[in-house]
């Protein structure tokens, strides 16, 4: 299924997202009274979108079936939810008198950006791992399906260290790596190294013989982060302003 979705990687996903957003924007602008737009803007559509997302979450929650998020059914549910939120945002982001409804806009547009980055950007995302000993270099890494992927740079482990606590558990580990023979940089847990646009190197494990690195490509993460920050700001306004009187 992962291979099927990778067909939609950049630029096709960007094109499809633009067609989807542009199409619904045209519908909103020119055919506001059409049955499709009226349905998508109805309370029933909002409630059904939330219920379908919650239903999908309950399925994954009870079964642990994470591959469900790669199914066509889940993609349809997400697309439907995004369409509802997109049109609701277009309709409601400002009042008829022109005043912008910031709380509404931040929450809905934030959700749209964050979930949209996950949905449209997933074909461009990848995760690979590589184990390196001191002085070893890598030009490729292992994908989660067991295959190998090419790194567009050379990753070299210069040095690493690990400290254990009194109970023998690791309390601190870090690695010093060099990219394309450049100056060494430190990588720690919670402090990945941004190697290039949308790509980070994480230190996931340390043993006596070397370190395990995780290479994550998520070029759409900036949209996701922007959406998350907007949602947090909207949530803050939800707290300050409370329920609509």
């Amino acid at each position: 299924m992962e291979q099927f979705w990778s067909f939609f990687s950049f630029p096709l996903n960007m094109l499809l997202a633009a067609i989807w957003a542009g199409g619904w924007w045209m519908m909103w602008r020119n055919h506001r009274d059409s049955a499709a737009v009226r349905f998508m803007l109805s309370p029933s559509a909002t409630v059904s979108a939330i219920c379908m997302l919650a239903g999908a979450g309950l399925w994954i929650g009870f079964t642990g079936d994470r591959l469900f998020v790669q199914s066509v059914f889940f993609a349809v549910v997400l697309l439907y939810s995004q369409t509802v939120v997109f049109l609701v945002t277009l309709r409601g982001w400002r009042r008829p008198d022109g005043v912008i409804r910031w709380r509404f806009l931040l929450i809905h547009a934030g959700f749209l950006l964050a979930s949209g980055a996950g949905f449209w950007g997933s074909p461009d995302s990848s995760e690979m791992r590589v184990k390196l000993g001191p002085g070893e270099t890598a030009h490729e890494a292992y994908r989660l399906d067991g295959g190998t992927g090419i790194l567009s740079y050379e990753l070299e482990l210069k040095d690493f260290s690990m400290k254990s606590g009194t109970d023998g558990k690791p309390v601190h580990y870090e690695a010093s790596v060099s990219v394309d023979g450049g100056a060494p940089v430190q990588i720690l847990v919670n402090h990945p190294y941004n190697v290039k646009f949308g790509e980070d190197v994480y230190l996931t494990g340390v043993s006596e013989s070397g370190c395990v690195f995780q290479i994550v490509r998520e070029p759409w993460r900036y949209f996701a982060l922007a959406g998350i920050l907007m949602l947090i700001a909207g949530a803050f306004m939800l707290f300050i302003k409370g329920p609509r009187k």
Partner: protein
Amino acid sequence: MNSIMPYIAVVMAVIGSVSAWAGWRRTAVSFSVLASVTLAWMICSKWILSGIPPLRTMGDTRMWYSFFAGIAGLFTYLRWRYKWILSFSTVLSTVFILLVALNPEKAGATLVPALQSPWFIPHVTVYMFSYSLLGCAFLIGLVGLFRKSSDLLPSADTLIYIGTAFLTFGMLSGAIWAKAAWGHFWSWDPKETWALVTWLMYLLYIHLRLYRRGSDRLLYILLIFAFACLQMCWWGINFLPSAQESVHVY
């Protein structure tokens, strides 16, 4: 000293809630505040003695929940003057603090690297605070269902809005932290999935209220169901087979 603190807090909270029933407002508020201060003292002393924030074990989260449940109950009592809310929040708080007192958990002496993040404290405490507010909304749902009246819905709305705001921050701060620690904002871990389901349940309540859809009975049942999802997210997932794959089991 810390071993008797939970019992002192429970006694104070019980005096506070009985006073609320009796209509002695000042006594109710005073003893409820004292109960919260006792729990705060317990949390602080544990923090200072270990040098590590007490946020790592299920017992730690229960302790925070008891603390915040008392505060949320007091807030609801002060704001809407429901004399029953302090009794209910006391029961909620007592159950969890007694679980801590009767089943003490030993946390390791070290903080594992993944938890060494500036998000660690705000993520967990904000979640626990939202859980306590939503716990009060759950109590309102129970009472409302029993009384068959819509009078309690406006107060539930306020609690849901504030609780959902904090729940949103808790969930999204977790997503930002997860990106830094594990590489992805969202990986459909059982804990994340149940957090999303809980969040969606409260969103459903908010939208049903905004659209004026759904009977009072349905809304009260939704408050109860949403709180059940919240409990699944908090500790219920530990009993699911999928929890074996979770990085959030503690």
